[in-house]
Symmetry: C2
Subunit: 428 residues, 2 copies
């Protein structure tokens, strides 16, 4: 008999079925034993009245993997309205050692460090698993949106000869006797590849030797990068970023409805045009000095509430960040050269994405580096490529873990990373 | 006016159009100038007769980025049967410095090291670009196939506390004062996550400090990993691997027909069941001693030809590799314990994928490590997880660069990597 999933049970009422999964919970009463079986799709109730099966279940602790054959029977109080009766239970491995954290409780029990220490097993908790099902759906939506706008997926080197963004916060390693670094972003490569494919995206790990121990920083995270050529300004990039986020949310709704319901987390609407506020105007709203160089987390939270109030939107673009705090490849705003053609996308008060138009003329790169007192040498092959014809272009990067955290209400990006890496954590 | 792509020209015959792209080639004749414009989609011919435009083109070398507005006119000898006449040309940047390798020649000129040195620009060559369009389509097909079989996409740590596969060929780095390594594969994580999601896949970089300078090894490559639980043996894994490869080839055909035609590379048929030969039988066919521990590249090539001849198949599974050469987590064949429940998938004579059933009982892990004289300590959290109930499971990994090389006829995996990393190469 073919195995079916727990969620398929309702279709089989009255029939013989075969389930397989983990013993999520046993309740061994005097004359009846209830077994809750967990599989990838959900939970199923199995009811055993025979003495032999009850004795057998007595010796099979929670998390033991079993195959259950029995009869599907309607029962309005069982999950999905159908349970399995007269079961034959066959273990598919040894009886499990009960996990360090009970997985059958409605909420995962334990402080975050404990949960992370035991992630290989604790992630099985339906509420923890659901977070990552949401993340997987979001990435699928990101890709399908960009595929539909003729972006080409790329895979770029994670081992690089010089730091991408700045010399700080970079992991160094020995590369066959030479110094190398872990890429902090695919920034240079995605720009260069606009010269090849016009529109590219990459979903991959980026590395930051982040010395700060905060709820929103990780040493490795998944960056959803995109870059596109032949733009007329940062607005074209913002339009694609808007579509990407909308596509992510749509796909979460379409592909992970069960996870959303497990997490009790509605998917927000994305306006056809996400409201945008210029950095200078944001400073005025915030009552901060006009020469404030960047937004602090508290500013972002305030602006998130403001966007909600003013526009009914969970998303807000802040545009025109001061050049001073943006990387050298940032395109200035010709009308207000102290400000840039860049943006951040704020999702419920947290910076989710950063992007903007980049420089595309070789001479501008040389000048921008000189103005910062930097030499071209560490960026030579990147800067040289701009001699050979590059269109006006721009792009953005979305942090997957932050996106998932803001969507699911997680307070710490570690909750939205399968096996987080930070200042203190290199295992499991 | 909205920009159109070169391939859309035929739909606009008789109308005003706007193209944008790179000056691929100019031919400046006495009374007429031909401009071949290259964009992401292909090439378009622009014909200029006015003296002013011809003078302008004279100052715009190959690779300059331009916007061209003009009239689309049918011309049977132009690419796509339509050209642009009476053009107005607007440069979108400075005149380009001609690239180190001419991109307009039908074949990329230059030895592989030269092409790789200048990859940021040389990849623009239509034949080089096409290879990566094929790769992108293949990855999309891999994902959609597994998505359709309820796999969940995962993102696992690339920074790990101990070597995954063996202590050799691993990149070491300083991780906030502690030793860490770059993951050689997501093997342990994907297995652990079978306990969470039942079926998982990951597309991501893996790292090998590969001391050999061969045409089939890289220090970083893109691994298409999958792992699934509740299997009855390695045949279930092989069936998924077959579907994944078939899905990759289908999507290449569907999504990248222009690239395939540029490369003159047909997509092979995948049999509903890929032929399989047991390792022991392969040794007999090859006339090698029965105790040969592994296949050499020459064996794989011979078997590839044999499969073509015997079964008309470009793909062949070799099953039951000797345990001696397989990693400790490999499941032995209970009927022939010197052989394993593992397989390689050979594509046109090259190992493309490796997979098999894994151990799933804690006691088996402890015994397997002891038998190899290894301690559990370096693998503690991985091995411990098997105490807590893991189903029979297995998986496989496909090397994207090898797949693309075998499909497109590239002789070196460096030709199918955007920016390869090897013993000698860390840039660009």
């Amino acid at each position: 008999m073919q195995r079916i999933l727990s969620t398929e049970l309702p279709r089989y009422a009255g029939q013989q079925v075969r389930l397989a999964g983990w013993i999520h919970r046993r309740r061994l009463l005097k004359s009846v034993a209830f077994l809750i079986l967990r599989d990838a799709a959900g939970l199923a109730q199995v009811v055993a009245t025979g003495a032999a099966v009850r004795r057998q279940l007595d010796a099979l602790p929670e998390e033991t993997v079993v195959c259950v054959t029995g009869t599907a029977r309607a029962n309005p109080v069982a999950p999905g309205g159908v349970e399995v009766v007269d079961p034959a239970v066959v273990p598919l491995g040894d009886p499990a050692v009960p996990p360090p954290v009970d997985l059958y409780r409605p909420e995962p029990q334990g402080a975050l460090p404990t949960l992370l220490d035991h992630a290989p097993v604790v992630l099985r908790h339906p509420k923890l698993r659901a977070v990552h099902e949401v993340a997987a759906a979001a990435v699928a939506g990101y890709r399908s949106t960009l595929d539909g706008q003729r972006f080409v997926e790329i895979h770029t080197p994670k081992l690089v000869a010089s730091a991408t963004e700045s010399g700080a916060n970079v992991f160094a390693l020995d590369y066959f006797g030479r110094p190398a670094y872990l890429a902090q972003s695919p920034q240079f490569y995605k720009q260069l590849l606009v010269g090849v494919f016009e529109r590219v995206y990459e979903v991959g790990p980026v590395f930051r030797a982040e010395p700060h121990d905060t709820v929103r920083h990780l040493a490795q995270y998944t960056s959803l990068d995109a870059e596109l050529g032949f733009i007329t300004g940062e607005r074209d990039v913002m339009a694609v970023a808007r579509d990407a986020v909308a596509g992510m949310l749509d796909e979460v709704g379409a592909r992970a409805p069960a996870a959303l319901s497990t997490l009790d987390c509605p998917v927000p609407e994305v306006p056809a045009e996400i409201p945008a506020v210029h950095f200078a105007d944001a400073m005025e709203l915030l009552g901060e000095p006009a020469d404030t160089p960047d937004l602090a987390p508290a500013h972002e939270r305030w602006l998130g509430r403001w966007a909600r109030r003013e526009y009914g939107s969970d998303l807000l673009f802040v545009t025109g960040y001061p050049m001073a705090k943006r990387p050298f490849y940032t395109h200035p705003d010709p009308a207000r050269p102290a400000y840039s053609r860049s943006f951040d996308l704020i999702f419920r008060g947290l910076e989710l994405a950063t992007g903007g138009q980049r420089l595309h003329r070789h001479a501008d790169y040389v000048a921008a580096l000189a103005a910062r007192g930097e030499t071209v040498a560490p960026y030579q092959s990147y800067v040289d490529a701009f001699r050979h014809g590059m269109p006006p272009h721009g792009g953005f990067a979305i942090g997957l873990e932050r996106f998932t955290a803001q969507l699911t209400g997680a307070r710490n990006v570690r909750e939205t990373t399968l096996f987080p890496r930070d200042l203190h954590r290199l295992t499991p």
